[in-house]
């Protein structure tokens, strides 16, 4: 059995004494897709930020590639890709300039070859010369996704990557995610969309800062006695 990419035990975060999330425990193996599901404000983004080392947990601990989650060493941030919910590319620059910056940040020597590879793989050749601020929401999200994976990370932390997207872009992103998982990339994806949740191997269910799981979608449905995932989530929400 391969070593886990990420393990976490009892992560918790408070803001101003108010618990935002508590009891996050997980173990993520290469090639697994873990979905963080639940209502907005449930602590999904906070969990992703703790896994990315951008927030220090108030309680609990964990490791990413054998290094503490809260490490601020630049080298510890090289092996994963983190995609925020907000568009984080430089809007006044072209997609190509943004991707070149990511290559430089990750120390990719032959950026031209790498960019040619990812451009072909993700089909964004027509977007390269366009300024990010001129792209549609779906195009910008595609570009942001490519920027997140351009260095070939073994772990992806994605915050609502499909929120507000058209169905074609959404399906494309999921196709890309499954292909990456097939190559052994571990993926953590937050979503409040149950269509996305159903595509995950396992789920952490967030409700008012408390966390349940990880469970497979089928196990979550069975544990709720519901007919499908939507009914299961609704059942849990009404029970809390």
């Amino acid at each position: 059995m391969p070593d886990p990419v990420v393990t976490a035990l009892g992560l918790a975060k408070h803001y101003g004494g108010r618990p935002v999330v508590q009891g996050v425990s997980l173990e993520l193996l290469p090639g697994q897709i873990l979905g963080l599901v639940g209502a907005n404000g449930g602590g999904k983004t906070t969990t992703l930020r703790m896994l990315a080392g951008l927030l220090r947990p108030d309680h609990g601990s964990g490791v990413r590639f054998g290094r503490p989650l809260h490490s601020t060493r630049a080298a510890d941030r090289a092996a994963f890709g983190y995609m925020t919910q907000r568009l984080s590319l430089q809007p006044e620059l072209s997609v190509l300039a943004n991707l070149r910056f990511r290559c430089a940040a990750h120390g990719i020597v032959d950026a031209t070859t790498r960019l040619a590879d990812v451009t072909a793989r993700y089909g964004i050749g027509s977007l390269l010369q366009r300024r990010v601020e001129t792209l549609s929401g779906g195009q910008a999200r595609r570009a942001q996704f490519v920027a997140t994976v351009v260095h070939g990370p073994q772990l992806l932390l994605l915050d609502e990557p499909t929120a507000g997207l058209d169905v074609v872009t959404r399906l494309d992103i999921w196709r890309w995610l499954h292909a990456l998982a097939g190559e052994g990339v571990a993926i953590v994806i937050s979503t409040h969309d149950l269509a996305d949740a159903e595509q995950c191997d396992r789920l952490l269910h967030y409700q008012d800062g408390r966390v349940e799981g990880p469970l497979t979608p089928a196990a979550l449905i069975a544990a709720s006695g519901a007919s499908d995932l939507e009914a299961a989530i609704l059942h849990r929400a009404t029970q809390s």
Binding site: L54, L55, R86, S88, Q90, A105
Partner: protein, 365 residues
């Protein structure tokens, strides 16, 4: 709902937003408080800040001239110097005005009236021109009281060093290069970070394997280049449009420009590292450059400030840049004199880098 109701609704919303923003209180309190302190206590141009050196052939004449200088409200820093000594003091910038007196020929020849040469440091015309007028008036008043004979009155000659025509533009333009670079760099520094934070790209930047020092240097290099270009353009305008003398020592000043620009960019960056918004970053920038402009000798003569304000003024890199610029452009000082002003700039830059690195969190909490 009526128009008044809608206006009231917008006003209520805006008031709530203003009251909840900490930056508003900074805007309302800090900047005016700073101005009250600086204009009330520091900016008090007075004649006592004019330093005078006196060279006279005899003690009596020297005492007479000292009395003239004091009557004009100036401070005598050296008296009884040998001929040429007062001018030397002005040239070495330890006095702003030198009074060089000479008596007429004696030993049987018809007595010529004594002569007085006033040597003025013209690098700060705004300070020395009014002082010159006061000293001149006091001198003539004294002479009129001493002698009724017009023919016996001394000849008076005025020599302005470094700025022969006493042009205010010659004083301001070299300093303006520093002021424009300072404002642009500190603004760029503070906005570069705050903009990233507001747009959301800061969080992504933190997740990348880039050290804080690498982020700072990466942002600094192009900004400092722009700052140098800006300073060069202002100086070039001074040389081409206002006839500023183009001495070789200007090259030494150009060597200081990158350090000066970088120092202010880093300072802006340090401010922004703790500012939540672009507005807060700008507010912090203003809170720095306003006193810098007031206490550096740009708007008001440095020598006219009280001791505590001069001490504070010496902290600002702008003060040293202005000195270096006047030394290089107007005085044709040696490169060593010009570059020596870079030492306090370097110390300030080191402190700014330390603050920026400490303030640059690697996390968002």
């Amino acid at each position: 709902m009526s128009s008044a109701g809608r206006i009231g609704g917008v006003a209520r919303l805006e008031l709530q937003r203003l009251l909840r923003a900490r930056v508003t209180f900074t805007l309302l309190l800090l900047v005016p408080a700073l101005q009250v302190v600086l204009f009330g206590y520091a900016i008090r141009p007075d004649a006592a800040s004019i330093t005078v050196a006196i060279a006279a052939p005899d003690v009596v004449f020297a005492q007479q001239l000292a009395a003239v200088a004091q009557a004009a409200g100036s401070t005598v820093v050296a008296a009884g110097l040998a001929p040429g000594g007062a001018e030397a003091k002005v040239r070495e910038r330890s006095a702003l005005v030198g009074l060089e007196a000479a008596v007429g020929a004696g030993d049987g020849a018809p007595a010529a009236p004594p002569s007085l040469r006033i040597v003025v440091d013209g690098t700060n015309a705004a300070l020395t021109e009014p002082a010159l007028a006061r000293i001149e008036a006091a001198f003539w008043r004294t002479q009129v009281e001493r002698t009724r004979s017009v023919s016996a009155r001394p000849r008076l000659e005025i020599q302005r060093l470094h700025n022969p025509d006493g042009l205010a533009s010659w004083t301001f333009l070299p300093a303006l290069a520093g002021v424009t670079v300072m404002i642009a760099m500190i603004m760029l520094g503070s906005l570069s970070l705050a903009r990233e934070r507001e747009s959301g790209s800061w969080e992504t930047l933190l997740s990348l394997p880039i050290r804080a020092s690498e982020v700072l240097l990466g942002k600094l290099l192009p900004a400092a280049m722009l700052g140098v270009l800006q300073g060069v353009l202002v100086l070039a305008a001074g040389f081409l449009l206002f006839g500023l003398p183009l001495h070789p020592s200007v090259l030494a000043l150009l060597l200081l420009l990158p350090l000066f620009a970088a120092t202010h960019f880093v300072l802006g960056y340090a401010i922004a590292a703790r500012a939540a918004t672009q507005l807060a970053g700008l507010q912090g920038a203003i809170a720095f450059y306003l006193p810098a402009m007031l206490l550096s000798g740009f708007l008001y003569p440095f020598e006219s400030l009280p001791g505590w304000a001069r001490g504070l003024g010496n902290v600002f890199p702008l003060t040293h840049f202005i000195r270096a610029a006047h030394s290089a452009v107007l005085c044709d000082a040696t490169p060593g004199v010009v570059l020596a002003e870079g030492v306090p700039m370097l110390a300030f830059a080191g402190a700014a880098v330390a603050v920026a690195m400490l303030a640059h969190a690697r996390r968002i909490d």
